[in-house]
């Protein structure tokens, strides 16, 4: 398969100036002075993306993921190495970046559309569907400066999704807007995938990456540390986060507090009938005594989150040494399918990860009924 995006040996160095001297006077008075340090934002990055692939890029803040995305879009140029792009690319680094506040919605559709690489003729053709999608028919001739921030984003997003690129590059923008808006965005991306477009997505949200991407690339300190199936990459990402979590002195005891060794069932098998009981035995070794909550997630084969237990429930406490947690789900009302199980321990605040394992087991559920969805909802009906 021919790659659509080929990133080869890309390096990017930034020069961070301390005591910035930007004026001519200062440069003449202090020639060659001004301290700076070089930051290597990307280090020998190599990967390629094929057609119809949706690839996620994950990494913590400052790992270089936005820099990489900007290089791919052409907003930044790499210091060395090159990026080859086959086909038209639309980069959505920020919604409404090309908008001029003094102009009407209509003018801005044309301006930002042409900035994303559309011809005027194409915008003429798409104009009605853009306006319809944004639901701003009444305000399209109003100046954008009078728009509410929600209206502004809606219009910007409508322009963005109506661009017809071969490759779509998205940076975090799905995080904006209300829930309905976010759902609309995600549906549109699903449609893009069906149409055979290549999508590159950066997000802090591992769930979003898991739900949308076939593959994920993990960046850490400018280097690719994992590139593979989404679940596998997210596991690497979480483990790296866990390993490197900075340890404040008083909390040092709690970071990486335990190691989960094995997850088993009393029967030794991970297949059940829908509605049956599921018991899990989690063997772990606590490195010291601590309190926390047990948490568990199930994902469908499409990578959609089926359930996540409340991180503030199921509190547990440990003394140093080996322990076995017995987990009992009295009724698993899932429908036919395979479900990935992630589980672990979170701190008393429900955020801090103390121990975590991704895809520790694959649960096979057999459902003999004809209902659909993820869940075979127990239901009782009576007629009087």
């Amino acid at each position: 398969m021919t790659a659509v995006i080929e990133v080869s040996d890309v390096n990017k160095r930034f020069r961070i100036h301390h005591e910035r001297s930007k004026s001519l006077k200062e440069r003449i008075i202090h020639p060659g002075q001004g301290s700076y340090s070089d930051v290597q934002a990307l280090r020998d990055v190599n990967f390629s993306v094929g057609t119809q692939e949706t690839v996620g890029i994950i990494g913590r803040n400052g790992s270089g993921k936005s820099t990489l995305l900007k290089c791919i879009c052409g907003v930044l140029k790499p210091t060395s190495g090159q990026i080859l792009i086959r086909g038209t690319l639309a980069g959505l680094l920020e919604l409404g970046a090309g908008f001029q506040h003094e102009l009407s919605g209509r003018d801005n559709v044309y301006l930002s559309g042409s900035m994303l690489g559309l011809s005027t003729k194409t915008i003429d053709r798409l104009f009605d569907s853009i306006v319809e999608f944004s639901e701003l028919e009444k305000f399209i001739d109003t100046e954008v400066k009078f728009y509410s921030s929600g209206m502004y984003l809606r219009l910007a997003f409508s322009v963005a999704v109506n661009v017809d690129p071969d490759i779509l590059v998205i940076d975090e923008i799905l995080a904006v807007g209300d829930e309905r808006f976010a759902t609309k965005c995600i549906d549109r991306i699903g449609q893009f995938q069906k149409e055979g477009r290549t999508i590159l997505l950066v997000s802090h949200s591992a769930d979003m990456i898991r739900g949308l991407c076939h593959r994920a690339v993990v960046l850490d300190q400018g280097q690719v540390i994992a590139d593979g199936p989404t679940g596998e990459s997210i596991r690497v990402f979480r483990e790296r986060m866990l390993a490197d979590t900075p340890k404040p002195i008083e909390e040092a005891a709690s970071a990486g507090s335990a190691t989960i060794e094995a997850v088993t069932t009393p029967s030794g098998r991970f297949n059940i009938l829908s509605g049956q009981r599921l018991q899990l035995n989690v063997d772990l070794v606590a490195h010291h005594g601590f309190d926390g909550h047990f948490m568990m997630e199930m994902f469908s084969t499409e990578g959609k989150l089926v359930t996540r237990t409340d991180p503030m429930m199921n509190s547990v406490s440990f003394t140093p040494g080996p322990h076995r947690i017995t987990v009992d789900l009295p009724e698993v009302p899932l429908t036919d399918g395979d479900y990935d199980i992630n589980l672990g321990l979170v701190g008393p605040d429900g955020y801090e990860v103390l121990a975590w394992r991704e895809q520790v087991a694959k649960l096979q559920v057999t459902y003999n009924g004809r209902g659909a969805g993820w869940m075979a909802m127990p239901i009782e009906v009576s007629v009087n």
């Binding site: 930034f14 086959r86 970046a97 102009l103 900035m115 690489g117 995938q193 069906k194």
Partner: protein, 317 residues
């Protein structure tokens, strides 16, 4: 976790798609190609700029006439009425030079700051940044057109004809002007990102440049006669005036629009003033063609430099 793939792709086959390469080095050819591909964006930028400028004002584009008209009125008052230089139809002589000069000042001073002013889009949207500097050439051309129209109207009212047979040289001259200002603007817009007071320097320099260009005075009458006898290192001092590329363009406009080489002064002695050099039509053509060549070379050089500097725009802004 590999999802079901669509049975066939609705997109252009991969092998037939255009290929773009992002790397530290960019050839001038690929710069031209990407600029050409985004020409519609250039058009939208030009017209949105004009729209924004006059949208909120009641008189609209009339304002773009107000500043040049006032400038012209002041120079007319000072040089013709107070100093009494005796030049007949001095308004047309001034207009010819100011038309060109307003283009220079509009395009150069606006494009110097444009990359910094548009930091929002430069940091977030990928498009050839050269377009920004070129868009100011576009807006300046629009104002040039309006001013040319007003000048033409004035010439009709006062029954002053241009040299019709030489009118065709003006587009060549204008092309040279666009190339030269484009090159200067492009270069300065990139430099200004790294040294922010470039724009202040440019504003001061433009004032000096104005007085070194024969706009309010005649090259032939003032400079040529007085400096020709002075020779430095084998060069007539008056020839140094032609290092300034705007001088020959201004003189071409003066030749075509003002038309008279010798005029009788309006002062009581009615002496003969030699306002324009006695060059042939051919030498005006040659001069302007050379300028087009110089402008094109300068633009290539500016594109090359811009290509080098733009790689770090998004981080410097």
């Amino acid at each position: 976790m590999i999802k079901e793939e669509a049975p066939f792709s609705l997109r252009t086959p991969v092998d037939e798609r255009p290929v773009r390469i992002v790397s530290a080095q960019q050839s001038v050819v690929s710069q031209f190609k990407s600029i050409w591909e985004t020409r519609e964006l250039l058009r939208h930028l030009v017209f949105s700029e004009i729209k924004i400028k006059y949208k909120a004002s009641k008189l609209g584009v009339v304002w773009s006439m107000f500043n040049p008209a006032l400038t012209l009125a002041i120079y007319y008052l000072v040089f013709h009425i107070i100093v009494n230089n005796g030049v007949p139809q001095f308004v047309i002589f001034l207009s010819a030079g100011l038309l060109v000069w307003n283009f220079v000042i509009n395009s150069v001073s606006t494009s110097t700051g444009i990359v910094v002013d548009r930091a929002g889009i430069v940091k977030k949207v990928a498009f050839p940044r050269e377009i920004l500097a070129f868009s100011t050439i576009g807006t300046s051309l629009v104002y040039f057109g309006i001013q040319l129209g007003v000048t033409a109207l004035y010439m009709i009212i006062v029954h002053q004809a241009p040299i019709w047979s030489m009118l065709w040289i003006l587009p060549i001259s204008l092309l040279a002007l666009c190339l030269i200002c484009g090159a200067i603007g492009l270069f300065l817009s990139a430099v200004n990102v790294y040294m922010r007071d470039t724009r202040h320097f440019v504003d001061v320099f433009l004032m000096l440049w104005f007085w070194l260009t024969p706009i309010v005075y005649s090259y032939q009458h003032t400079v040529a006669t007085k400096l020709h006898s002075h020779i430095l290192l084998g060069i007539h001092l008056n020839d140094i005036f032609f290092i300034n590329p705007v001088t020959p363009i201004v003189m071409t406009f003066q030749k075509v629009l003002y038309a008279h080489a010798y005029v009788r002064a309006t002062t009581p002695d009615h002496s003969v003033l030699n306002m324009l050099p006695n060059w042939s039509e051919g030498s005006y053509v040659t001069m302007n063609l050379i300028l087009v060549g110089v402008g094109a070379a300068a633009l290539l050089a500016a594109l090359k430099i811009f290509g080098r500097l733009e790689g770090n725009f998004a981080e410097e802004l």
